[in-house]
Symmetry: C2
Subunit: 214 residues, 2 copies
């Protein structure tokens, strides 16, 4: 993350997909790909791909295609993959536990440092090797350990209040699963995840064009 270039939010939102596809190509032993082939795989126009990837200084060579590994590494850097990001999870319910157990986050260099809850029945128990602490310890833990990301998997009525406490403790980003859109100052990165949006999109597609827009 040494270089901070201006990249639009829309492009940023497409990068994880590029990163995923390039990772799959690498797994399949593919070392070079043309924008046309990448386009067919990703259901994005080739010109869109060239435009997106040019934002990062254009890793492609005319008529020769992209170096898959190089592109994968460079996009990974931009995404902060293997950048040593630290996380805490606030809310040790089923979703919190599911996230704690995700191997793919660990493989991408996101390290879970703490889990917090208010329920005496789970405080002191271990999830994925980490002892659950009371949320009253949360702010001090975030400050002391310089935590980057807080994952919110708590009931939605506590979402904004908990976010505000984390922001005061200098959290850098909030990954919000509470089904309640929260607000944060511009300097705090925020991703509101609305799982039911995806379910409703699916529901809407049923009986229409099926998966034609994927």
């Amino acid at each position: 993350m040494e270089e901070i270039k201006p990249v639009s939010g829309v492009v940023i939102r497409r990068l994880p997909r590029y990163y995923r596809y390039l990772g799959e190509l690498l797994e399949d032993g593919i070392t070079r790909i043309s924008s046309k082939e990448l386009s067919a795989k990703m259901h994005v126009t080739a010109s869109q791909i060239r435009q997106d990837l040019n934002c990062f200084g254009g890793f492609g060579q005319q008529g020769y295609g992209y170096n898959v590994e190089y592109l994968h590494t460079e996009i990974g850097k931009i995404l902060g993959v293997n950048g040593g990001r630290t996380m805490i999870i606030v809310g040790a319910g089923n979703l919190g536990k599911a996230i704690a157990g995700y191997g793919s986050f660990k493989r991408r260099g996101f390290t879970l440092k703490g889990i917090f809850d208010v329920d005496d029945k789970v405080i002191g128990t271990k999830i994925d090797g980490i002892t659950v602490q009371h949320t009253r310890e949360m702010e001090e833990f975030v400050s002391r350990n310089n935590i980057d990301i807080a994952v919110l998997t708590i009931p939605k009525m506590y979402a904004q209040e908990t976010a505000d406490r984390l922001i005061r403790a200098d959290i850098k980003g909030i990954w919000n699963f509470t089904h309640k859109e929260i607000t944060a100052p511009i300097e705090v990165a925020l991703e509101n995840v609305h799982m039911s949006d995806s379910l409703m999109t699916l529901s809407c597609k049923i009986g229409r064009a099926g998966n034609s827009d994927k």
Copy 2:
């Protein structure tokens, strides 16, 4: 879902957000909203909103704004909310349990009918009132009960094979959380959820413009 109008995938993808915001307005007792106000709330241009909502026959009236409740109901119909959709969950791990417990799906008329797993330790136990069955019962259950949606929360190596079995049993839509992009015939609706995309987007925003694109 009586009327099937052609709506582009991009617009469909925005509808759940409209639906959510309109729902929040209703909760706040707001009955009318101009496209300008809706635009400010949703961070979309007013002309984009007018264009999107015109796809559905234009519920707005010049200089008078949108009727929030009417718009909420109509978009809900398009999304299949309260349309009596039935679901099963395949994979009774933490994520499967988290999804089984989501109140917001039930409120929107999605009814969970069955949960399936291969692990003898969970088969026969109850999750949210539903007894977990062996996946060998899955196809017959889907056919017999005319299930609309299967939620996949299984290890990714079983994703495509399980999807294929569900498709042969005439499932209408697959909500795939397996981190493995699966393929399905055009007539089967498909949503691949990649939670790590959202985490990487967040990570990318840290140290950049923060949440400026939300």
